[in-house]
C-alpha cells in the first residue's frame, strides 16, 4: 500500500487532504506570511492590470554569489538566491510564500511506501532544461547521488542523512530508497543541494558548466563576474506557461548597505535587499519606494554553553527569558518589524500559535524570583560574544547588558570578527554567543534545528552541551514519523517543552526587509526567503507597449 500524491494540483498537502498540514488555516506563529508591505505609502500603485512581458530588473544584493553550483554552496543566500532562479528540485517550497508547504517541481507525482523508506517520483511531462534537452530519470539519479555523497555534497551533508540510493525505473520514473525513514526528506530535497542538474553537461565539463549554468528554473545564467554581478536571461523552455515575464535580471553585489539604498534611490537598481533596520523609517517616507518584509526562519538566536554551571541552571535561563524586554528591543532596534517568538527556534512549520504556547513575558520581578531560586541568587558575571560589523548586534548587546544587569547578571560584551565567533562557538569556547551573522534554518520544518539542539551528541547538541534528556527522544520520534498529521501533533509539545527548558534563547524573529522601486510588481518570496522572480514584471513595460 502506497500513498500517492499528485503534485500538479498545487499544494501537496491539500491534495492529500491533510488538515493539519496546511499552515495557513491554523494561524500558527510559524506561518509564512507572503510579502507584506511596511508602511502606508508602500503599496505599489503602478502594479494594476495584467503582468506584461519584457524589461530588465536590477537587484542590488548584499551578499555576493560565489558559486553557481548548487551543491558547493559558498556564500549562503548570495548563492542560494541565484541558484533558486536557475534550478528546481523534484519538489519546491511554495514559490508564492503564502504557505510553508511543498508543491511540485521537476516531479509531478510521488508515491511513498508505508514504511516511509521508498519514494517514487514521476517527472513532469515535457519538462526540459534551459538548453532544450528533456529532463530524464538519469539526470535525477545523477543529482540525488551527488546529493547523497558527502565528498561532493560537503556543505549540506547533514541534510542528506538517511539517503540510500536511487534507481532509474524508466525514463520518467525514479525510485529513491532511504536507509531509514526521514520524515523531512521531501523538505530536504526541496532545497539547493538537490536541485536537478543535467548529467550530460556536468559530466562533460563541470567547471565550465557551472560558470554559465542552466536548469529547469525560469532563468539561465548569462554572465557571471565574481564580486561584481551575475546576469540571468529568460529560460525559453520554462514549463510554466507565459512565465517568466522579465527578459533579463541582473544581481549587482554591494556589501555596503548604504550603497544598496543609494542605488535604488537613484534608479540604478529596482530592488535592494538587507535594508538596515535603522533606515526603515527614513525609507518609508520616500514616495518613490516601497518597503517589503518577508517572514522567514531568520532569528536572533542567543546560544548558551551549559558547561558553565550558571547557564546549566534552568532557573537562570528562565530568568534571562523574563528579563528580556523584547518589546523595547523590537521597537528600538528592529523598528517594530520583528516578531516576539514563542519558540527557542526560528518560526517553523507546525509551530503552535502564541495562544497555545505563550512567549515569555517581560517581567523583571518574576526574573528576580527565579534568580533567587537558582543556585546563583547573588547573580554572576558572564560574557556575550557577537560578530563584528552588524549594527544591530552591537545595539542588542548593549540592551541585553542593561536588561540582564537588572537581575544581577553582569554581561561583558565581546565583539569578534564573525569567523572567530563561529570558530569559538564550534570549539564550545563561549558563555553566551550570537554564533552566526545570519542565523536561519535551511528548511521550513523543524527537523533540522530540533535535531541539532536536542539530538546531536556528536556536536554536543549544537555546541550547547545541553542535557536534552526526554526532549531528545521526543525529537527523535518526531523526525522519524512520516505521517504529517502525527508530526503536526507532536511538534507543539516539543516546542513547548523546549521553550520551558530554554536551552538556548530566541531573542527575536526577524524578517527580510527589501526596498523596491514602485515599478516592480509581483515579487514573491518563498517561505525560506528566496526570491521567486518568475512572477515579477515591470509596470513601465505596460507604457512601453501599446
Amino acid at each position: 500500500m502506497k500513498t500517492t500524491r499528485w503534485l500538479t494540483a498545487g499544494v501537496l498537502c491539500a491534495a492529500l487532504g491533510l488538515t493539519a498540514c496546511g499552515g495557513s488555516d491554523n494561524g500558527g506563529g510559524g506561518d509564512a506570511v507572503a510579502v507584506e508591505q511596511i508602511g502606508a505609502g508602500g503599496a505599489a500603485k503602478n502594479c494594476t492590470g495584467k503582468p506584461v512581458t519584457g524589461g530588465t530588473l536590477v537587484y542590488s544584493r548584499g551578499s555576493e554569489t560565489q558559486s553557481l553550483d548548487p551543491i558547493t554552496l559558498r556564500n549562503g543566500n548570495g548563492d542560494i538566491f541565484a541558484t533558486e532562479l536557475v534550478y528546481q528540485g523534484l519538489v519546491r517550497s511554495d514559490p508564492t510564500g503564502k504557505t510553508q508547504d511543498l508543491v511540485g517541481g521537476v516531479a509531478e507525482k510521488l508515491d511513498v511506501s508505508d514504511d516511509g523508506k521508498t519514494y517514487t517520483f514521476t517527472l513532469r511531462d515535457g519538462i526540459k532544461f534551459g538548453n532544450g534537452d528533456p529532463v530524464t530519470a538519469e539526470d535525477v539519479k545523477f543529482t540525488l547521488d551527488r546529493f547523497g555523497d558527502p565528498k561532493i555534497n560537503q556543505v549540506m551533508s547533514v541534510v542528506a542523512g538517511g539517503y540510500g540510493s536511487s534507481k532509474v525505473v524508466d525514463d520518467k520514473t525514479v525510485e529513491v530508497k532511504l536507509k531509514e525513514p526521514v520524515a523531512s526528506f521531501l523538505y530536504n530535497i526541496s532545497i539547493f543541494p538537490a536541485f536537478i542538474v543535467p548529467k550530460k553537461a556536468v559530466e562533460a565539463d563541470e567547471k565550465a558548466f557551472f560558470k554559465k549554468p542552466y536548469g529547469t528554473g525560469p532563468y539561465m545564467v548569462d554572465e557571471f563576474v565574481r564580486g561584481s554581478h551575475v546576469t540571468f536571461v529568460r529560460n525559453p523552455h520554462y514549463w510554466e506557461d507565459g512565465k517568466p515575464y522579465l527578459d533579463k535580471i541582473r544581481f549587482n553585489f554591494a556589501s555596503d548597505s548604504n550603497s544598496r539604498m543609494l542605488a535604488v534611490k537613484n534608479g540604478q537598481a529596482q530592488i535592494a535587499d538587507g535594508v538596515p533596520f535603522s533606515q526603515i523609517n527614513a525609507l518609508n517616507g520616500d514616495q518613490k519606494l516601497s518597503l517589503q518584509k518577508a517572514e522567514v526562519p531568520l532569528f536572533v538566536g542567543m546560544w548558551m554553553n551549559h558547561q558553565r554551571k550558571e547557564l546549566a541552571d534552568k532557573n537562570v535561563r528562565q530568568a534571562m527569558q523574563h528579563a528580556l524586554n523584547r518589546e523595547q528591543i523590537n521597537q528600538g532596534i528592529f523598528r517594530g518589524v520583528g516578531t516576539i517568538p514563542n519558540s527557542i527556534l526560528p518560526a517553523l512549520k507546525y509551530d503552535a500559535p502564541a495562544d497555545q504556547v505563550p512567549p515569555y513575558a517581560y517581567d523583571v520581578n518574576k526574573a528576580k524570583e527565579l534568580m533567587a531560586k537558582s543556585g546563583f541568587p547573588d547573580g554572576f558575571s558572564t560574557t556575550l560574544q557577537y560578530p563584528a560589523g552588524y549594527d544591530y548586534y552591537k545595539q542588542l548587546g548593549l540592551l541585553i547588558q542593561q536588561q540582564f544587569g537588572a537581575i544581577g547578571i553582569k554581561v561583558k560584551l565581546v565583539e569578534q570578527e564573525s569567523a572567530e565567533v563561529t570558530d569559538r562557538f564550534n570549539k564550545s569556547d563561549y558563555d553566551l554567543t550570537f554564533p552566526y551573522a545570519q542565523f536561519t534554518s535551511d528548511v521550513v520544518v523543524p527537523d533540522e534545528y530540533a535535531t541539532f539542539v536536542a539530538n546531536s551528541p556528536d556536536i554536543d547538541n549544537f555546541f550547547t552541551h545541553w542535557d536534552s534528556g526526554e526532549i531528545g527522544d521526543m525529537v527523535a520520534k518526531f523526525t522519524t514519523t512520516p505521517d504529517e498529521a502525527e508530526r503536526a501533533k507532536l511538534w507543539p509539545e516539543i516546542q513547548k517543552a523546549m521553550l520551558d527548558e530554554s536551552p538556548v534563547i530566541n531573542v527575536m524573529n526577524v524578517p527580510y526587509v527589501n526596498v523596491h522601486g514602485k515599478d516592480v510588481c509581483g515579487t514573491s518570496i518563498n517561505a525560506l526567503g528566496a526570491d521567486h522572480l518568475e512572477d515579477s514584471w515591470m509596470a513601465s513595460q505596460t507604457a512601453a507597449k501599446p
Binding site: 533606515q279 548593549l398 565581546v414 565583539e415 572567530e420
Partner: protein, 296 residues
Amino acid sequence: MSAAAVTPTPAPARRRPRLGRLLLLRGQPRTVQVGATIVGALVLAAIFAPLLAPYDQNELDFSNLLAAPSPDHLFGTDDSGRDVFSRTLYGLRIDLAIVFFVTYAALPIGVVAGAVAGYFGGWVDAVISRIVDVMLAFPFIVLVIAIVAITGPGVKGVLIGVPLVGWALYARLARSEMLVMREQPFMLATTALGYSRRRAILRHAVPNLIRTSLIYSTLDLVVNLMLLASVSYLGLGAQPPNAELGSVIAQGQANLLDAWWVATLPGLVLVAFGVGVGLVGDGLSDGKLLRRGARA
C-alpha cells in the same frame, strides 16, 4: 638634484630640537601657532572628555533616535539615541591616545634602527634594509586584519600593526640621513675621541636624526589617524560599546540622508585635528614636509 629630493638634507648638526621653545610657540611661524592652538584645544578636550561630555557615551535612548543638533545634544543623537557630542569627545580621546602612541612608539625604534644601519653599513645595513623593504611592501591592511583576528577586534590591530610597520618608515629616513652624517666632522670626531660606537650613535647621531623624524611624524600622525578611521570604517575598530571617531562616522553613514549630523560633525573634528597637526608640521619644516610624501 634628483637624489637630493629623496635623500633628506642633513639636519643642523649641533643642536637638539628645542622643545621648550616649540611649546611656548614664541617666534614660531603663524601657521604653527594656529595649528598648535587647534591641536592643543582638541587634546585638552580629549583629556577632559569625562568632565566635558554631557552624557554617558553609551547611554541608549530609544525615545530620542536621530535627533537633530540642539542645545541638549550639540551634535544630535545617533540611531540608538546616544549623544553624538559625548561620543565624539570620547572617540577623540581614544583616537588621539592611539595615534600618539603608535606614532611615537615607532619613531625611536625606527630612528635607532636606521642610525645603526647607516652607521655600520655592510651586512648590518643589508639585513635592516631588507626587513624595512619587506615591511613597506607588505599590504598593511592584511597585517592589521590578521592581528585583529588573533587578538579580537578592537584597536589592538592598529596598536600593534602600525608600530610594527611604522618604524620602517623612520628607519629608512634615518638611514639615509645617517649615510650623509657619518661623514661629517662631528661624527668623525667621535671616532677620533675614542667614543664607543654605542655612544656615537645614541648620544650624538640619534639626537640629530630625530629632529627630521619628529617633523616628519606630524605627517605620520595624520596618516595614522586616517588609517585608524579607515580600519574602523572597515569594521575592525574599537571594541564597542566604546566610541571611536571612525566607527562613529561609519555608523552615521547609514543615516547620512536623513541625519547628516551623525557622520558629518565627528568628521569635521577629525579633519580639524588633521589640519592642526598639518599646519604645525608644515610650519616647522617651512612647507617642505609633504614633499617627501607619506612613505618617504
